[in-house]
Amino acid sequence: MLELRGIRKSFGRIEVLHGVDLHVRAGEVHALLGENGAGKSTLMKIVSGIIQPSSGTILIDGQERSFPTYDDAIQAGIGIVFQEFSLIPYLTAVENMFLAREIRNGLGLLDRRAMRERARQILKRLEVDIPLDIPIARLSVAEQQFVEIAKALSLDARILVLDEPTATLTPSETAHLFKVMRELRAAGVALVFISHHLDEIFEICDRITVLRDGEYVGDCDVAQVDTDSLVEMMVGRRIENSFPPKPTPDPDAATVLQVSRLQLRRGGPISAFDLRAGEILGFAGLVGSGRTETVLSMLGEYGAASCQLAIDGVPTRLRDAADALAQGIGLLPESRKEQGLITEFSILQNISLNNYGKYAQGHWFIDFRKERDCTRTAMQQVRVKAQGPHARVDTLSGGNQQKVVIARWLNHDMRVLIFDEPTRGIDVGAKAEIYQLMRDFTAQGYAIIMISSELPEVIGMSDRVCVFRQGGIVATVEGDAITSERIMTHATTGKVDHVA
């Protein structure tokens, strides 16, 4: 029904899809599988006309088609339920379903009764009971998702793409979704299902296409594969040499930071871990598995249900990042532009942002000479390549920007550095430099937590790895046990103990 052949897509000079095939038949649920960043979402955006492929063909019912806009894709019978919903929170289910396609009566006014009737029919077909007259925002996530599906069906979608629909659903909601999916399948709809949870794939899907780093790895019937072979298809056999050698772990290293109980959401899983001086503790898991929220909770910057932590054995409560800084804990956030840098500031101003205690004469005035000298030293330490300390940070490359964020913490009496996605959007050479810096820090006694969605990085850098799934740590592995298969298996199929 839907067939893609040799789809390629480049952003600028970087090719992110290297000739991907996908063949979805009517009346099947087809899984699209791959790690974070494998290209699944990009591919689906191409199918729905949101972005255009650089080359390759799209066929529907054997006919070649192209979708210059999202609307063209809808006309061709494609419906997509995105990870982030495209619903308007203050409108009702009916209003959302008929947004921009409102049914009008003879006077050109809204024919609310007709729209309501049509909505009711569709929802009845899905066998879901959703209040039609309250704003979407007050519905549960699962209900909103059904509204999205109903919206797609109201447009006569014959091909329905569900992009990680189960990520935020409870098990019973997931079961209901699967029931609906089976009914649609029986009615001849072709479904594309994106999920990281392998057990779900085995439960609902008929066939699988696997992507890895934008490459088409292959497709197969679900009946022919097992978890191990799927994980191997997803992670492949990649060797990266850019990682500095790992030191032998010191069994006597002191525990710097101990988290004895951390629960992100009431009723969710409870995590515990400790961090030793001189080690890199990797936080692995899928996007949305709770890694960033966990570190933000430690710093008091995220409202976790509960968080108990001890620093050097002393129970402590951090209220905000400033408290954390006073205790020697610093965060290098996930998004440099949004959370790390003041883009209008110079390198110097960005580095000294949290350092003024040291440059202020009598705590009042900035000592500009000292500020400049300290900044120069810090820039040399992390090897920032720039015209000088007064260059604006938004003129720097991603790698140099990241080094600026790192340099901010060097002038303090730090013990713990938390790197959230330290090499995202950074070229290979700068990556290697940042890895080396991290090892230099641990050699000086810093303890590092590294959140990373890149498996090779987790494996190449971590002394120990905590694997997250659905909001909590499901496993901690160390030494030779740190393998991509092991981490992926825990991240995608781990059993979570739900404790109230």
Binding site: E301, A321, A324, G330, I342, E344, Y356, I366
Partner: protein, 323 residues
Amino acid sequence: MSHDAEIATSRKGKALEWLLHSPLALPLVGLIVVSILMGFASDNFFTLANILNVLRQVSVVGILAVGMTFVILTGGIDLSVGAVMALAGTIAAGLMVNMGLPGGLGLAAALLVGLGLGLVNGALVAWGRMPAIIVTLAMMGIARGLGLIYSGGYPISGLPGWVSWFGIGRIGVVPVPVIIMLVIYALAWVLLQRTPFGRHVYAIGGNETAARLSGVRTGRVKLAVFAISGLTASLAAIVLTGRLMSGQPNAGVGFELDAIAAVVLGGTAIAGGRGLILGTLIGAILLGVLNNGLNLMGINPYMQDVIKGLIILLAIYIGREWR
């Protein structure tokens, strides 16, 4: 090329560079252009007496605009400054006239009122997590109402004679309010350009999340900028009370808008993070020159408001295209 010529061109290049990139360039050009136009329109414009007069007229809004600059640089807004100023002036006058308090204590009370209400604004914005525009809009109503309640709606006059020094006194030829204004601008410049606090103000306007996550106590900084705004409102109250020689509960209606206009005309980004206090001074003077010139030309006051509005729109438009 000779050495001297090289220096000359590099100096010329520097001047051009400054003109193209300094946030002060555009307001300054605007001020010069408007002043020249006014000079053509009225022979009296470029007299020392008139220029000092303009500066004296500018002083109240100019002082309000200092606090406003701090708030806007963090990405906030303070709509309550006009009402807070009126309340502070009314209470100071009331304490001096009705309670017989020594004048010094009355003026100190004015400062405390401004500082206190500014702290309330700041606490609600920083820790109450409420939007600045709503908090200060409410405070505008509250302060205005309190002033009317306290005074019964009538001006409180009969102040000791020396109070007028703050409003109409002179040191040499220079009016005292102008000196007060310039001193406040100088202090504000030091705070913004020479202290860690000032850098944090810009950082919060530039990227609050980044500032916060790097360990800046953003709540305290926001509290402080609203406190500064309250304080400058009460300093403006002292100047205004001295000029009017009475506490006027209805004074300063709409002054918050003039203060915001001065800040924006001075090149400060309304979203925060970018702008200079010197720009605000230029913006305030620009507004004053417009008022003065349009008066000298004898233009209908209703029309003057329309013209001022159009000029603000034009200035913002040019400012955006410039970058």
